[in-house]
């Protein structure tokens, strides 16, 4: 191993202050409505709220009952209502309904809406239209950044993805710019900012705009973060999601959990070894109590037992989790899915993969899975052959419901699932050939023709950047060689590869072709006031900003890269995502 060349990774900044700021501001806002009050909380703010405050803090500040937004208040509700919400129009209507119902029944109450992270003008417009403007007071809870782990900060805005990339709405760019401003003021100034993508560029520009007005008090302070890398999620990446798992138990997993902190980045195959080693140690430590005299036993009980018990609890939790993941993994479906994914990535057996997807659909296996595989096929092949597109779509609608017509339309608009335009395929030649040979061979020939005839962006990028590592021999997942280990050695997430390349080159030089294939909008700006010497600690701390979400696979890959290069990555993402969540965001539901 090339351990010798590595430097110790720099320390991470402390993000605990972000939680404290958010909590204190919330407390302040609650106090703005003195006295007993009921609090209505937006469903998707609940879990973020749990991470920074708890019910007793709320109770301390006179919160009496807690409701979920969308539930009607009980008859014995208090005289003051406080709504902690995202700036959404339908939530405004819900609030207006409550206020108007109270008015009708002659009930007088005080109402306060706390918007997080900010208020939208359109929300006030709805309040005005509903005739409750003035009956309610509005405030903003500038809760932009939620540290999820020592190196992950989430904006908890999953809707960013759909709002920006599907609807083309720029409403979340301002919150991103403000989040950057806050981080810059606490941990900056950032020495160098890189970015790619239209959204990344706009966020950067708005952020700089905000910075220019502020007095930049951060200047002269010792920076803790050296580089920033902004990246659009959009169409940039869409890897398979091999490492995902269903969590039926809700546990707060982060680096404070000693066991988890050691296994989280390992490939699944090496986790077992680790866990079993760990449990053997544990057993050995327990066993020591045999043959102890009374005093030794007393010491053991008072000093070590608690720790051991704690470790024991954690271990059994993780072993249980592994079991449940294994159950899913060993299902035949899972293995086949992985196989199909890998074939798609490498671009062989397209025909076979297509019929694999078809079967998935016919058997009504999870609608999200089917969609995901179709999107993967489309991205790797630069769109589906019209014939395949039509037949897969028809079967999909038959299996999962005709209203998915809208889902297909959305996926087409966002570019995740498209149809090759007619001119690009060699249908005529193909049909002649297929008359001469069997179905199977015809499929292969079609593939060959297509790869000749069409230029696939994905293939070009993949080739250019070496996203699919060439395998000589077995890929040893226990001794990862590169970032591809997160996908069992099959694929390096594109986003991570780009970050690696740009940091290595300290810019975009030599990546012109890749940039072109990714639709450009790349930038690289240095802050001249910040010392740009690699010796400086902060120069080895990189803030990776994912606009539209970031996956745990990407996080694991970059953590690996950091370990290799002696640097640390901090992740700022609009939300933690995975392919299933991206697909769900494309599904049309009732208004």
């Amino acid at each position: 191993m090339a351990l010798a060349g590595r430097r110790d990774a720099p320390e991470l900044p402390d993000f605990g202050i972000l939680k404290r700021l958010a909590r204190d501001q919330l407390v302040y806002l609650l106090e703005q409505l003195p006295g007993k009050k009921d609090l209505f909380i937006e469903a998707d703010l609940m879990s973020p709220l749990d991470r920074i405050a708890n019910v007793s803090i709320l109770k301390q500040h006179d919160v009496d009952k807690l409701y979920k937004v969308e539930t009607r208040p009980a008859p014995g509700a208090s005289d003051q209502f406080c709504f902690l919400v995202r700036p959404r129009l339908r939530t405004m209507r819900f609030i207006a309904d409550i206020v108007n119902a109270d008015k009708m029944s002659g009930r007088s109450r005080k109402y306060k809406i706390i918007f997080s992270p900010q208020k939208f003008y359109a929300c006030e417009m709805v309040l005005e239209e509903e005739g409750v403007f003035g009956d309610v007071t509005c405030d903003e809870w500038s809760f932009y950044l939620l540290p999820l782990d020592e190196d992950i900060i989430s904006m908890e805005l999953p809707e960013f993805f759909r709002d920006y990339f599907l609807e083309g709405d720029h409403r979340w760019i301002n919150p991103v710019a403000r989040a950057l401003q806050l981080l810059n003021s606490l941990y900056g100034p950032f020495g160098k900012t890189y970015g790619i993508g239209r959204c990344a560029k706009m966020s950067y520009e708005l952020w700089r705009d905000l910075e220019e007005e502020s007095e930049s008090e951060g200047q002269g302070r010792k920076p803790e973060i050296g580089h920033v890398f902004l990246m659009d999620r959009g169409s940039v990446d869409f890897g398979p999601d091999v490492t995902s798992s269903d969590k039926s138990i809700k546990v707060l997993l982060n680096s404070q959990d000693k066991v988890f902190s050691q296994i989280r980045n390992e490939h699944f195959s090496s986790v077992f070894g680790f866990l079993s080693q760990k449990s053997r140690n544990l057993q050995a430590q327990y066993d020591r109590r045999r043959g102890m005299d009374i005093k030794q036993m007393k010491d053991f009980v008072s000093q070590e037992l608690k720790g051991l018990k704690q470790e024991h609890r954690l271990l059994s939790l993780h072993i249980g989790a592994c079991e449940s993941i294994m159950k899913k993994k060993t299902k035949q479906d899972f293995q086949e899915t992985i196989k199909a994914e890998h074939s798609l990535l490498e671009g062989f057996d397209i025909r076979e993969s297509t019929s694999f997807i078809e079967e998935h659909i016919d058997r009504q296996v999870s609608p999200i899975e089917s969609l995901r595989l179709m999107c993967l096929l489309s991205i790797t092949e630069n769109g589906l052959v019209p014939k395949d597109y039509r037949s897969l779509k028809t079967q999909y609608l038959q299996s999962y419901g005709p209203e998915h017509l809208l889902t297909f339309h959305n996926l087409k608009r966002i570019g995740l699932l498209t149809e090759q335009s007619a001119g690009e395929t060699l249908t005529a030649v193909e049909s002649k050939v297929s008359k001469l040979v069997t179905d199977r061979a015809a499929g292969k020939i079609t593939d060959a023709f297509n790869s000749l005839a069409r230029k696939s962006n994905f293939r070009a990028i993949s080739k250019k950047l070496g996203l699919i590592p060439r395998l000589d021999g077995e890929y040893d997942l226990k001794m990862p060689r590169d970032m591809a280990y997160v996908f069992g050695g099959a694929y390096v997430p594109l986003s991570c590869k780009i970050i690696e390349q740009v940091l290595e080159r300290r810019g975009w030089q030599g990546l012109e072709e890749v940039v072109r294939l990714l639709n450009g909008n790349e930038f690289c700006v240095s802050d001249s006031t910040v010392e740009d010497s690699p010796a400086c600690e902060s120069q080895r701390v990189v803030l990776a900003v994912f606009l539209g979400g970031c996956t745990f696979s990407e996080i694991a890959a970059l953590r690996f890269l950091g370990k290799e290069r002696g640097c640390k990555f901090i992740f700022l993402t609009t939300a933690i995502t995975n392919s299933a969540r991206m697909m769900e965001a494309m599904i049309e539901a009732k208004a």
Binding site: A122, E167, G218, Q395, H409
Partner: protein
């Protein structure tokens, strides 16, 4: 570093609401520097509610120069223009400036930011004689010291102020030229919230056709308006816009989307019927047609089966009560349902699997897969056998080279397709016609025979 952190932590835990000031020459001050810096950075992010003076509704409605407490009690009049309360009436650009009560300093004041607009910054800088860069003291300054510059704000400044969450009057942008400059500035500012706010103003103050015409060349703004209309549920306006833009497919999809909000199945069916004529692509039109037909069938099946179930005469329904209604289920689920409860029904019945197969052109493979699952669930092994036999045998029988043997085997195992195709290849019209009696009435096989017999291109040998 870590020592500072520890102190800071202690501060944050202990301070709660204890009042303090930055101009205090306290020793604590130095310790608080870090936290203060953090908090100050929040200035902009936090809405300054106390800056009442600057509150002019962005839509131009008077929100006023009066403190929030009054507004709260004014119960709704704040947004009315009835002039009952003249202080709520906004003059063109000047405001009654009520000096605000000096608020006591608390942690809360930390969150109150100073106005950060360049012009304001210099103004306040000039007024601040203490060199200390602290924010709390400014809140004490009577509001009257601020000048109102609203009428001087350029479109760019207006957009900037709005981006920072300030309320801004847009009413003075009256000429089309001014409105468009404002919109373009908003788009250039990259803040969707502001873009939408400007669009709401434009929508209110411009005739549709003019707004549409201008948006046609402003794609980013256009996206925002479409998204806004969709979120507001302003369907009619949205459709008008899409029609104006000639986006016919989107018109169709937007209308079709509405069906998701219709709960009543009869109404939904009627609505879907109306969707068939919408300008979808040819491919989608057939999907919509299928959707309508499917729901139509489901309504019929549901009514019958509910009746059967409540009457309690059908053993199948008694033994396997339905878990849910079949309404609004996908086609494959409906097929499964019908294979489960209505497997043996004649093709003429809407609820029969063969009828579904034919109506919706369900591929053989899909049909067999679903039927197998349903019959296996019922443990109807005979049906499973038959399904497997016909499917698998057919493939094998087809491969038998000797025509005589093939015909015998195919007839014996009722591989209709093979028999029919063999007679066709033998050009034996008599045998083929005779075979009609062996297949079910109205079945796909019968139709196949008919179509072969009526094929004028075949030169029959008899």
């Amino acid at each position: 570093m870590s020592r500072v952190r520890a102190d800071e932590e202690e501060y944050w835990h202990s301070s709660k609401f204890r009042a303090f000031t930055f101009d205090d020459e306290d020793d604590e001050l130095s310790q608080l520097k870090e936290s203060k810096r953090a908090v100050n950075s929040l200035r902009d992010i936090v809405d300054d509610d106390d800056d009442d003076l600057e509150r002019v509704s962005w839509s131009g409605e008077p929100v006023g120069s009066i403190s929030w407490s009054i507004k709260e009690t004014a119960s709704g009049s704040a947004s009315s223009l009835d002039g009952r309360d003249s202080s709520l009436q906004k003059g063109s650009s000047s405001y009654a400036a009520l000096p605000k009560q000096a608020s006591s300093y608390s942690l809360s004041s930390l969150f109150k930011g100073r106005n950060k607009l360049p012009s304001f910054q210099s103004l306040s800088d000039a007024l601040t004689d203490t060199g200390v860069k602290s924010y709390a003291p400014e809140l004490r300054r009577p509001k009257a010291e601020y000048k109102d510059y609203s009428s001087d704000w350029s479109p760019k400044d207006t957009v900037r102020r709005m981006q920072r969450g300030k309320v801004c009057s847009l009413e003075r942008f009256r000429s089309l030229q001014d409105k468009l400059v404002l919109l373009d500035e908003a788009v250039a500012g990259h803040d969707g919230n502001v873009i939408t706010a400007v669009l709401i103003f434009l929508k209110r103050t411009l005739r549709r056709e003019i707004l549409f015409r201008e948006l046609e060349v402003r794609q980013v703004a256009l996206c925002h308006l479409i998204h806004f209309l969709r979120e507001m549920g302003e369907q009619k306006f949205l459709l008008d816009l899409l029609r104006f833009l000639d986006r016919t497919e989107e018109v169709a999809l937007s209308q079709y989307r509405e069906h998701l909000n219709i709960q009543d199945v009869e109404k939904r069916r009627e609505f879907l019927k109306g969707c068939i004529g919408l300008p979808f692509s040819a491919e989608d039109t057939s999907h919509i047609q299928d959707h309508y037909t499917l729901l139509e069938r489901q309504i019929i099946i549901e009514a019958n089966d509910r009746h059967l179930e409540t009457a309690g005469q059908s053993e199948l329904f008694r033994k396997y009560p339905r878990k849910a209604s079949i309404l609004n289920m996908p086609l494959v689920t409906t097929l499964f349902y019908s294979c489960f409860y209505h497997y043996t029904e004649a093709e003429g019945m809407f609820s029969s699997p063969t009828n579904l197969k034919k109506t919706f052109k369900i591929p053989d493979k899909q049909y067999v897969l679903t039927a197998l699952a349903a019959r296996a669930k019922l443990r109807a092994w005979g049906d499973v056998d038959a399904l497997l036999t016909t499917k698998v045998l057919q493939e094998y029988v087809r491969l038998v080279e000797d025509v005589e043997t093939r015909l015998n085997l195919a007839t014996k195992y009722k591989c209709h397709d093979v028999v029919i195709e063999t007679y066709r290849d033998l050009k034996d019209r008599i045998q083929l016609t005779a075979y009609k009696s062996k297949v079910e009435r109205g079945s796909a096989e019968e139709e196949k025979i008919h179509s072969i017999l009526s094929n004028v291109q075949i030169r029959w040998k008899n």
